[in-house]
């Protein structure tokens, strides 16, 4: 095996020729030895018998063969060429035939075989033909033609057989060589080293690759090597050796091949480094089941083990990071949940009871038995509760502004009205410091002037209350706080006082918790004021110096519309109630005070009022009472408002009843809740606490199935035309619904829904949307809805926002 692999650089055919030549050399040594040994006695005998010439020839052959055999045994190439040997052979044969007749002919047979085996095929055939050609005439001369022919034929036959034999052997050997060649290729390609152990001799052959794996040169001499087992890592060796012995000793398979299981262990290289290998082996057994050969292949797995180690390490790392992320995520979720909980708590758990505190004094004050001073005291309670409610709302809004989730809902706000209210609130306080306020609009007086901003009233109130109060407090005694308003777009409002902001906090003036040690100051005022200004698309800036005092400049977007009415902290009890028609109203709320309060606002008769304490109770009442209008709280135990609405709608559709008008009535005042309620199919969304007017607007009144619609002043001019086209569309819708033309109905409803919602006709838009979605499975329902839509649009009262209600024509 070693020889073959060390000649690995030669091409396969050349390697085969080389191996053939070597074989012939070995054969020729054997034949030469045998020939010399056999012929020598005959040569001596020839001399003794007086056949001198024959003796010389025989001795010549013998001598040549002996010389070559000796050289061959010493591992050298034969000194006498085969061609030279041929001459004494031919000479001896011819003399023998001439002198000894038959004996000479007999010698011809071994001579032909001799020539065949010591020379290559072509030369030997040529020489042997010469022998036959020379012998035949001699035999004819001595005997007859027939003998000559017979002798020639048998000699030729021997020659042919010898050729056939050689060819067969050579073919077989060539085939074997090719197989080995292929095996070597495979072994080299898989980078596997091999080891072959021969049981009879305990001899071990290492392939060159295995030697390289073990850290030796590929052609290293393995003769003096220790046992292969010594290469195994000491920690793995006992186990490997035990298995090896067991496998060798197992004699269950006779005359066959045992395939041994794969295993991985470490080998120690010549340089002491350990490598991981995967070993695979087969054992060839003899007739007694004893192992005759053990052939093993080894693949170096060190790199793979290294990758696997690295992989394992990085997987561990990734797992650790994932765990950490998971933990962080969990903490984050907890934190968010905590914040949401706070918001929720503020929304519901504080606002709901506050609503009762606002409502109950209001109810009590209506009692005719109260004295005026008692009414005033109740008024104080009510306005205090309103202030707390506003504060809670503001806190929530600030929280949303900080988180960036606040939705700015601009209105037209007259800042002068607010400034007026703010300065009046501070009047007592200012008087004690002898500080006065001076308000100028566009450089002049403010009587009859207006400065309308695109803003939110409550936010403006909060900003100005804060800034004016700060300015007043920071002013030296006996000084003036000047408020200069410049109208337009943007609109600016400057508040000036003679005091300077302390140098230490000038840079951090608008930062959270920045305070100059003011008694009771939280440092949140200026921070939130700027936050509120920015949320409204404006800004707040400060300039200060010892010489000029301090000026705060608030800028806001201007608006040309008419401003909203000033905030009315006391409930609006004035004005005539719209005439109500008899109707069944169901109030649903889990807070009994809210039920009491609502009931007190709704006159009975003409209304008949029923109440339910949660969604499930509401569903039951709706079945028996068939209410026209339902005011439904959203957040209730047992069954919430959304679920109850779905149940009620389902039930009414099933019973072919005209759907109730269901109003979501919630203390959540955020846009998301409003949208969610409208998406869920509520006809309206109303915030708690509601004013009487807002409630009445949703009740079936003398004016039809809806009170009035508040319209954007900018759209006022379009109203008559808009109403006319919408009424026409609604009539078409009713016609389509009556005729059951579903596609047309849906198309018209779609068209109507889009525009109605934009013009603020929310109730009508909701009906149109329901018609458009075809949400009602009941065939009669579209017609009922369409009729409701027509009636609503026919009788709806248009109130221009901030203006007085007016009948649309």
């Amino acid at each position: 095996m070693n020889g073959r692999l060390s000649a690995a650089s030669l091409p396969a055919s050349a390697r085969f020729e080389a191996s053939q030549a070597a074989r012939r050399a070995r054969t020729s040594v054997g034949i030469s030895t045998a020939g010399a040994t056999v012929l020598t006695p005959f040569a001596i005998n020839n001399f003794l018998q007086g056949r001198t010439l024959l003796g010389i020839a025989t001795a010549g052959v013998s001598l040549c063969l002996a010389v070559n055999a000796l050289a061959g045994l010493r591992g050298k190439s034969p000194p006498i060429p085969a061609k030279v040997v041929f001459l004494p052979v031919l000479f001896a044969l011819l003399i023998s035939i001439q002198t000894q007749g038959m004996v000479g002919i007999l010698w011809s047979f071994p001579a032909i075989l001799l020539i065949h085996f010591i020379l290559d095929a072509r030369t030997s055939n040529l020489y042997n033909a010469t022998i036959i050609g020379a012998a035949a005439p001699l035999i004819w001369a001595q005997y007859d033609v027939a003998s000559a022919v017979r002798a020639g034929a048998t000699l030729a036959l021997v020659m042919v057989f010898a050729n056939i034999f050689s060819r067969l052997t050579e073919a077989q050997q060539r085939q074997e060589a090719e197989q080995r060649e292929r095996l070597d290729l495979i072994v080299r390609a898989t980078r596997a080293g091999t080891l072959e152990w021969i049981g009879a001799t305990e001899e071990v052959t290492y392939s060159s690759l295995l030697k390289e794996m073990l850290g030796y040169a590929p052609d290293a001499d393995t003769a003096g090597w220790r046992s292969f087992l010594d290469f195994i890592h000491p920690e793995d060796r006992p186990d490997v050796e035990k298995r090896f012995r067991r496998e060798i000793d197992d004699r269950s398979v006779k005359n066959g091949v045992k395939r041994l299981e794969k295993r991985s262990y470490r080998l120690l290289r010549a340089d002491g480094e350990a490598i991981w290998i995967q070993a695979e082996a087969i054992v060839l057994t003899g007739p007694d089941g004893r192992a005759q050969r053990y052939i093993a292949s080894f693949i170096d797995m060190t790199d793979r083990h290294r990758y696997e180690d690295a992989l394992r390490a990085s997987r561990d790392q990734v797992e650790a990071q994932a765990k950490q992320l998971e933990r962080q995520n969990h903490e984050l979720v907890e934190a968010i949940r905590g914040r949401e909980e706070v918001e929720r708590m503020a929304q519901h758990d504080i606002r709901t009871p506050l609503n009762s505190i606002v409502a109950v004094p209001r109810l009590l004050r209506e009692s005719p038995r109260l004295r005026t001073d008692e009414k005033e005291l109740l008024g104080v309670v009510e306005s205090a509760a309103y202030r707390i409610l506003n504060l809670v709302n503001l806190t929530l809004d600030l929280y949303r502004m900080e988180r960036g989730t606040y939705r700015f809902q601009p209105q037209s706000v007259d800042l002068l009205v607010i400034v007026d209210a703010v300065t009046r609130d501070l009047a007592t306080h200012a008087a004690s410091k002898r500080v006065s306020f001076e308000l100028r609009v566009d450089g002049g007086g403010h009587d009859g002037a207006r400065a309308v901003a695109r803003a939110e009233e409550l936010l403006c109130y909060s900003i100005l209350a804060n800034l004016v109060k700060n300015a007043m407090e920071a002013s030296p005694d006996d000084s003036i706080v000047r408020i200069d308003v410049t109208s337009g777009d943007p609109l600016s409002l400057r508040i000036h006082n003679a005091g300077a902001v302390p140098a230490s906090i000038r840079d951090s003036f608008f930062e959270k918790y920045s305070t100059a040690g003011k008694a009771g100051g939280t440092g949140i005022g200026t921070y939130s004021a700027r936050l509120m200004a920015r949320v409204q698309g404006g800004d707040l800036a400060m300039e200060t110096s010892e010489a000029d005092g301090t000026t705060l400049t608030l800028t806001l977007g201007g608006a040309d519309g008419r401003p909203n009415p000033a905030p009315a902290p006391t409930p609006d009890r004035s004005g005539s109630d719209p005439a109500l028609v008899p109707a069944r109203v169901l109030l649903v709320d889990d807070d009994e005070y809210n039920l009491v309060f609502l009931r007190s606002l709704l006159p009975s008769p003409p209304l008949s009022i029923d109440t339910a304490i949660n969604g499930r109770a509401a569903v039951a009442r709706a079945e028996t009472q068939r209410p026209d209008v339902i005011f439904m709280d959203l957040d209730m135990p047992v069954m919430d408002g959304f679920e109850a609405l779905a149940e009620i709608r389902r039930g009414q559709a099933g019973r072919h009843e005209t759907p109730s008008r269901v109003i979501a009535f919630s203390s959540y005042n955020d846009e998301a809740t409003r949208q969610r309620a409208l998406d869920a199919g509520f006809d309206h969304f109303l915030n708690k606490p509601a004013r009487r007017r807002e409630l009445f607007a949703l009740l079936p009144g003398a004016a039809g199935p809806e009170g009035e619609v508040e319209v954007d002043p900018q759209l006022a001019a379009t109203m008559p035309g808009f109403l006319a086209t919408r009424r026409a569309l609604a009539a078409d819708i009713l016609a389509a619904a009556t005729a059951g033309r579903a596609d047309e109905l849906r198309r018209l409803a779609h068209r109507l829904a889009g525009s109605l919602s934009l013009y603020g006709f929310e109730r009508a838009a909701a009906i149109a949307r329901r018609l458009q979605d075809g949400a009602t499975s009941d065939a009669a329902a579209p017609e009922a809805l369409a009729r409701e839509l027509v009636e609503h649009l026919e009788h709806v009262r248009i109130r221009i926002r901030n203006g007085s209600p007016g009948e649309a024509t």
């Binding site: 759209l715 086209t725 068209r751």
Partner: protein, 122 residues
């Protein structure tokens, strides 16, 4: 505050056009109730923004969008669908886009809608 911009509105409902004229009075509104005129008007007026309804008879908003996109001159003009087909919530879930174009829902609160349109102008 802002320079006057030109807006092309395509909607088969005149009420929508009137609404936009009223609320965006500080800008020039070019409008048509017929989607067939859209490309011609866009070429003639070179508006700063195109607002287009989707659900219209004969030629719908999608056709208008394609026609405008296929014209090298008007392709670059910002185009926004103004549709009543979806709720603001559904539209939000689609990232405010329909068919690869920005879209606004007619069902969103009117002031917010106008604010969004103004944002598109800036």
């Amino acid at each position: 505050m802002n320079p006057r911009k030109k807006i092309l509105v395509i909607d088969d409902d005149a009420a929508i056009i009137e609404f936009l004229r009223a609320k965006l009075a500080d800008h020039d509104i070019v409008a048509t109730e017929s989607a067939r005129d859209a490309v011609a008007l866009a070429l003639e007026h070179k508006p700063d923004l195109i607002l287009c309804d989707i659900n219209m008879p004969e030629v719908d908003g999608g056709d208008v969008s394609v026609a405008l996109f296929n014209d090298d001159v008007v392709r670059a003009i910002p185009f926004v669908y103004l549709t009543g087909l979806t709720t603001p919530k559904d539209l939000g879930a689609r990232g405010g886009h329909l068919g690869g174009r920005a879209a606004l829902s007619k069902h969103m609160p009117p002031d917010e809608l106008v604010g969004r349109i103004r944002n598109f102008l800036n």
